[in-house]
């Protein structure tokens, strides 16, 4: 058995089997880290309460608030009431649930609060070889450090709270091999959008993706987090990248990573995780990084994506395609470049880390957003916010006419009142362009932080390479 070459995924999966899958039952899989937030946890705590069950391993759970909370400083720190009553109730309920069940909470005013998928890696809680779950589909983000991380529903949140385990059928593996060098102005966001465009939004269904090849090895940790984040937009519950020196350097001295001798011991374990030579994937696909352009979506799912210099495709008489273009107000054959936009959003678990804010600020420095443009910059965590402010990035955004907010999911899904108006075009660094995602009738164009910033300056879709 030990001599059979294994993939990274298989190694992590096997190490967490309390009992393996059989013909009659799924595997019982042990979960190392459970992240919780205010929107998908209340009904899970209620289920525990109804049945008189306690949390089995509270030290393996960490809760925060990100989805429905306000990003306006007055409502977070200034004592102003949270504008949406039902969101305020979710905040209070999470506080009460965490206190009752003994789960650590990084609450609304906590210095380490942030988007759940930003703070896990940032705190050093996300580590190679761990199993990580959260009631959120973008949990795939954490796979960037070599963890097996996937989103779960609220019933499963209750399962993990009660037993620290989940019943799971073993997924298949998909190797995504990326070779060559990304060209200047082409970012990790463009890479993952290009991958989704080719796989299709259901192409990874039933699979765990491992991103491989020298292009992926050359990405820094924040770029890797962006790539793994959007695995679910190709239908894959998890995306992973083998841990290497980039991973270890990132984790060293993070507050909740192992320290000192314990870190050295962990390194010995982590170095054994990468996929063995000769290990087989159920499927493999290859990408040439040098052929990828800055990408932008034109439709109502992330697979409807084109190079920024391209034209909106025509799709015969497919009614769903026609409906998507009608919703977007776009015409087949029209260039996407120079499409006017109304709103620019830099934020979300995909692109709100320090490097994202730096790259957007580099475009905006000494420039101003075009007249009539509303621009929101929402850091991924309070820690990102502090670091950005220490570098003066917030002043660049404010001077350019953008709004600088407290951290949270914000306009990515518009639960907290940060909304795009009906019929308006938003260029957004987030992960979903579904109908109504950013507000009823809102039209979302997904792109990288530099493309979003360049488009803010001109007030229309702009190739970032024209503004350097």
């Amino acid at each position: 058995m030990a001599s059979t070459p294994q993939t990274l995924f298989e190694k992590v999966w096997r190490a967490h089997e309390v009992s393996p899958e059989s013909a009659a039952t799924p595997a019982v899989l042990y979960i190392d880290l459970h992240l919780l937030h205010e929107v998908t946890s209340p009904q899970a705590f209620a289920l525990l309460r109804e049945r008189g069950i306690s949390v089995r391993r509270p030290e393996r759970a960490l809760a925060t608030m990100d989805h429905s909370i306000p990003t306006l400083t007055a409502q977070v720190f200034g004592g102003a009431p949270i504008a949406i009553d039902s969101a305020a109730r979710q905040v209070r309920e999470l506080e009460a649930n965490c206190a009752e069940f003994g789960v650590e909470l990084l609450g609304l005013q906590h210095a380490q609060r942030g988007i759940v998928h930003v703070i896990g890696p940032e705190l050093g809680l996300t580590q190679p070889g761990k199993t990580i779950v959260c009631g959120d589909s973008h949990t795939s983000t954490h796979g960037a450090l070599g963890a097996l991380a996937f989103g779960i529903g609220t019933t499963e949140v209750a399962h993990v709270l009660a037993t620290q385990c989940l019943l799971q059928s073993k997924p298949r593996t998909l190797g995504v091999n990326v070779h060559g060098r990304l060209r200047p102005g082409v970012t990790a966001k463009d890479l993952i959008l290009a991958i989704i465009g080719r796989l299709g939004i259901a192409g990874g269904t039933g699979h765990v993706i491992e991103y491989r090849g020298e292009t992926v090895r050359g990405l820094d940790m924040e770029e890797r987090l962006t790539v793994c984040n959007m695995s679910i937009e190709a239908g894959a519950r998890a995306g992973m990248i083998a841990p290497d020196e980039t991973t270890f350097d990132y984790l060293a001295r993070r507050p909740r990573a192992p320290q000192g001798a314990a870190f050295e011991r962990a390194l010995d374990e982590w170095r054994r995780l990468p996929t063995d030579t000769g290990a087989r994937f159920d499927r493999e696909v290859d990408f040439d990084a040098a052929a990828i352009e800055p990408m932008i979506t034109y439709g109502t799912n992330p697979g409807m994506v084109i190079p920024i210099g391209g034209s909106v495709p025509a799709h015969g008489d497919d009614p769903a395609f026609a409906q998507a273009l009608a919703y977007m107000g776009l015409t087949p054959g029209a260039a996407i470049k120079d499409q006017p936009v109304n709103v620019v959003f830099i934020g979300s678990c995909t692109n709100a880390r320090l490097s994202d804010l730096r790259s957007a600020a580099a475009v905006l420095r000494g420039r101003h957003v075009a007249p009539g443009i509303t621009m929101l910059v929402v850091p991924g965590s309070q820690d990102v916010k502090r670091q950005a402010e220490a570098e003066g990035l917030h002043q660049v955004f404010l001077d350019a006419g953008a709004q600088w907010r407290e951290s949270g999911c914000s306009m990515c899904l518009g639960m907290n009142g940060d909304l795009v108006g009906a019929g308006q075009y938003a260029i957004s660094t987030s992960n979903r362009n579904f109908e109504g995602r950013q507000g009823k009738g809102a039209r979302t164009l997904l792109a990288s932080p530099v493309t979003a910033a360049a488009s803010a300056v001109r007030g229309r879709v702009t190739d970032p390479r024209e503004l350097t």
């Binding site: 309390v18 009659a24 799924p26 019982v28 589909s137 779960i152 529903g153 639960m415 109908e435 109504g436």
Partner: protein
């Protein structure tokens, strides 16, 4: 969870592919802290006009769709977010099953935990069902079959454990709690 053995119903059809969970239940309705009461907001942005009145041209609003408990949908139903509010809303509305050629992983897992049956069929069967809204069909969980009005039965995949849970109304939490000793043994040997 109530046992789910067989279901016979006329169908209501939403032919679009890639119906995502933001369409099934838009995010602004997720600030609830209970599982019930979401049915009124199912497909809210498709079902209601800007004034909040039902749109007569939307399939679920048509008179012939009332009382249907099987939804037929285009490929890749339930993609997107992990919100369990999606199957909760479908169930609360009165639907009990969705038939498609492909169903997203997290939605499928959530649906099964709520007695909402995800039925994946082949392309020709799906195409026929999409072309025939209101067809009277039957689902049999024990046999794993969908029976068309012609009497032809089409098999759909269902894992043994999921089938067992549906047929007996068993929820997985009880099963996991009963494995407590094994879980403790695992924690000790790590």
């Amino acid at each position: 969870m109530e046992p789910f053995t067989t279901l016979r119903s006329r169908t209501v059809v939403l032919p679009a592919a890639n119906i995502d969970t933001d369409q099934i239940i838009p995010a602004r309705y997720l600030t609830t802290t209970t599982r019930t009461g979401l049915g009124g907001n199912l497909f809210a942005d498709w079902r209601y006009d800007a004034q909040g009145a039902p749109r007569a041209d939307f399939a679920l609003n048509r008179p012939e769709a009332q009382g249907c408990s099987i939804l037929v949908a285009g490929r890749n139903f339930g993609c997107g977010s992990s919100r369990e509010h999606a199957p909760w809303a479908l169930y609360d509305y009165g639907l009990r099953a969705v038939v498609s050629t492909q169903i997203a992983d997290i939605f499928r897992s959530n649906a099964l935990k709520n007695g909402f049956l995800p039925v994946v069929v082949d392309e020709p069967t799906s195409a026929w069902l999409i072309a025939h809204p209101g067809a009277d069909i039957a689902l049999d969980v024990a046999a794993g079959t969908l029976t068309l009005p012609s009497g032809a039965a089409v098999e759909f995949p269902l894992e043994a454990f999921a089938r067992h849970c549906l047929l007996h109304g068993v929820d997985e939490l009880g099963y996991l709690l009963a494995r407590g000793e094994e879980i403790t043994a695992y924690e000790r040997r790590r």
